[in-house]
């Protein structure tokens, strides 16, 4: 499967959005995702990871550049104003 260039999209946002974001990621055509718990600080203030409303999740999606860009655009529009959000893309080699 060492196919065209893949990207790893890393989304860091509020835990409360986990289910919603995952649904959207799948609806936009991702073939998989990985979620882990995190805490952090950014423009929206410190999230201590000690409280459901207060903790972050990291959602990672490996996919084509197009898919990752689509998800970024959607999430930026939908969540950027009201929620903590970080969106990163990294080119990766998918080895399986």
């Amino acid at each position: 499967m060492e196919s065209p260039q893949k990207y790893l999209l890393t989304i860091v946002s509020e835990s409360i959005l986990e289910d919603r974001m995952i649904e959207e990621v799948r609806a936009l055509g991702a073939t998989g995702y990985t979620v882990s718990d995190a805490r952090g600080w950014g423009k929206h203030g410190k999230r201590r990871g000690k409280w459901r409303q207060d903790s972050n999740v990291r959602i990672e999606v490996v996919g084509s550049q197009e898919l990752c860009e689509t998800i970024c655009a959607r999430f930026k529009e939908e969540y950027q104003a009201d929620f903590g959000l970080l969106l990163l893309m990294t080119p990766v080699l998918l080895k399986n």
Partner: protein, 315 residues
């Protein structure tokens, strides 16, 4: 007046938080304890309910509900016009103060146990009834002046199957089904350990509250004043209503405490989804950082004293 050592644990947590102690209670323990408290409160109410009649509760229930809807409708204009808060923040705060806090209720229950007073089992039904309407009113208030769709389906699902309502009702049903006859084997966990685990939970809440107080500092004195005056006002309504409905002194204290308490579990979750442009730091800071400690240290004894005075005059 009854001295309740349980609140000292909250203080301990606050001190640890402010002193930046490395004391931490893991989130998973916090989550498990909150499941426990909700179930235990529900079960205790259910068992009591199994011994009482349900029909005569409908009218008082409606009265309790009506006053419960009044509270956020009072909060909103106060915050919006006196406090000059943006619409969505005022609405979200109104929802928090209209809804109720199970842990504050639990502290009042512990207070009554210490004072040797009983209360009506259906208080837990009222607790359940009062959690929801203020949230719906808050969302409506936020939406009034605004375009755009509310995700009502999602939001109501989040509220009704949100864990606090769900576990309270679940506990009520299980306690009712088991009744005093079959609850025995569950008593050591759900009754005997209640106070000890509440103490543990309060320790953790103190840690969290400490950080919220710090967050709040930047938002000025009006909000802090509101977070103290509003509960006293609401509690007064509760005392008058409880007395008017002929409830026991214990029941009236619990009703006053319910009205006075501000939600910090159900409301934040619901508001974050339904009114995302409201600043959660404001509402959690006020409810958890100010109103909660005010209620458990000063409020509950104060409301008790007020109710006692009224009852001794009225009696």
């Amino acid at each position: 007046m009854a001295f309740e050592p349980v609140v000292l644990f909250f203080l301990l947590g606050v001190i640890a938080g402010l002193a930046k102690s490395d004391l931490k209670i893991p989130t998973s323990i916090y989550d498990a304890l909150s499941v426990y408290l909700l179930l235990a409160i529900g079960i205790a109410g259910g068992v009591k309910l199994a011994e009482s009649e349900l029909l005569p509760l409908i009218l008082p229930g409606l009265a309790v509900l009506a006053v419960g809807c009044l509270i956020p409708l009072v909060c909103f204009p106060v915050l919006r016009f006196l406090g000059s808060f943006p619409r969505s923040d005022a609405a979200s705060l109104a929802a928090h103060y209209g809804s109720v806090s199970v842990v504050t209720f639990s502290v009042a229950v512990a207070f009554l146990a210490q004072a040797g007073l009983d209360y009506e089992g259906h208080m837990v039904v009222f607790l359940v009834l009062l959690e929801i309407p203020a949230l719906v009113i808050g969302i409506l208030l936020a939406r009034l002046g605004m375009a755009g769709k509310t995700r009502w389906g999602k939001t109501l699902g989040e509220i009704f199957f949100g864990k606090s309502i769900f576990l309270l009702i679940g506990g009520l049903v299980i306690g009712y089904a088991a009744g005093p006859d079959h609850i025995g084997p569950l008593e050591p966990l759900f009754f005997d350990l209640f106070k000890g685990l509440l103490a543990f939970f309060l320790l953790e809440m103190g840690l969290v509250a400490a950080s919220k107080i710090t967050d709040l500092r930047d938002y000025g004195k009006f909000l802090i004043g509101f977070a103290i005056a509003m509960p006293i006002f609401s509690a007064t309504l509760g005392i008058l209503l409880g007395w008017g409905l002929g409830m026991s002194l214990g029941g009236t204290l619990l009703l006053a405490t319910l009205y006075a308490s501000a939600s910090y579990i159900a409301a934040p979750a619901a508001m974050r989804i339904a009114v995302p442009d409201a600043n959660p730091v404001l509402s959690i800071g006020a409810s958890l950082g100010v109103t909660f400690p005010f209620n458990i240290f000063v409020g509950v004894p104060l409301y008790f004293w007020m109710a006692e005075t009224l009852y001794s005059m009225g009696g």
